[in-house]
């Protein structure tokens, strides 16, 4: 069974700094999808960024980018120029193709301080 591990329960940075959230996963699959979701205090689960395992190029979405290291089974999220609105729980998630099921990590609580 696949597992996803986020080793940082909490992180805190100053506004405008860059922060990296770590995520590792365990799978024997060669093709799969990886996601980062954000959960602000409103509790809404919001997609931040996604990546296919067969793509070597790291995904980017504005200030958000990933460092995908397939051999190391690592999928970290980098937030550049952090903003107060980035304060949230961040969840890393794994999906096998056609499984249509997300396996989540434990989450990292990120606080952006003014």
């Amino acid at each position: 069974a696949q597992t996803v591990t986020q080793s940082q329960p909490e992180m805190s940075v100053q506004e405008a700094e860059t922060v990296t959230l770590s995520c590792t996963y365990d799978t024997s699959e060669s093709n799969y999808y990886l996601f980062w979701y954000k959960q602000p205090p409103s509790r809404q689960m919001i997609l931040v960024i996604r990546q296919e395992a067969y793509k070597q190029q790291n995904a980017t979405e504005n200030r958000f980018s990933v460092n995908f290291q397939k051999a190391a089974k690592s999928f970290s999220l980098k937030i550049s120029d952090s903003q107060l609105g980035d304060t949230a729980m961040y969840f890393c998630a794994f999906m096998k193709p056609r499984a249509q099921k997300l396996v989540f990590g434990q989450g990292t609580r990120l606080t952006i301080n003014p």
Binding site: Y33, F35, L47, E52, R98, Q100, F104
Partner: protein, 117 residues
């Protein structure tokens, strides 16, 4: 305009009661889900339906009964509520469009916070 909407958003009820949470999606997706987020924020799938057919049932107690009247709706009924059922329940939907993460992304509703007292 909300893509995945669920009601109620907050629900406080006594042990032993029966309650339902309703979910609707207007994204035209074929697959809908229920996820549970426990007090430690851990998220886990409970059920998934594809075109009204049950696809995934993750060893959820049979007090939980999902019902999908059509592919745009997936309701969750819970019988004989217990203290341990207190959680946030998320409805979600997706459309499998070939390969690629974008075609397999799951979109979540705002969650329904259930408190059993």
């Amino acid at each position: 305009d909300t893509a995945v909407s669920q009601t109620p958003k907050y629900l406080v009820t006594q042990m032993g009661n029966d309650k339902s949470i309703k979910c609707e999606q207007n994204l035209g997706h074929d697959t809908m889900y229920w996820y549970k987020q426990d007090s430690k924020k851990f998220l886990k799938i409970m059920f998934s339906y594809n075109n009204k057919e049950l696809i995934i049932n993750e060893t959820v107690p049979n007090r939980f009964s999902p019902k999908s009247p059509d592919k745009a709706h997936l309701n969750l009924h819970i019988n004989s509520l217990e203290l341990g059922d207190s959680a946030v329940y998320f409805c979600a939907s997706s459309q499998v469009l070939g390969q690629g993460a974008s075609g397999n992304t799951i979109y979540f509703g705002e969650g329904s916070w259930l408190t059993v007292v």
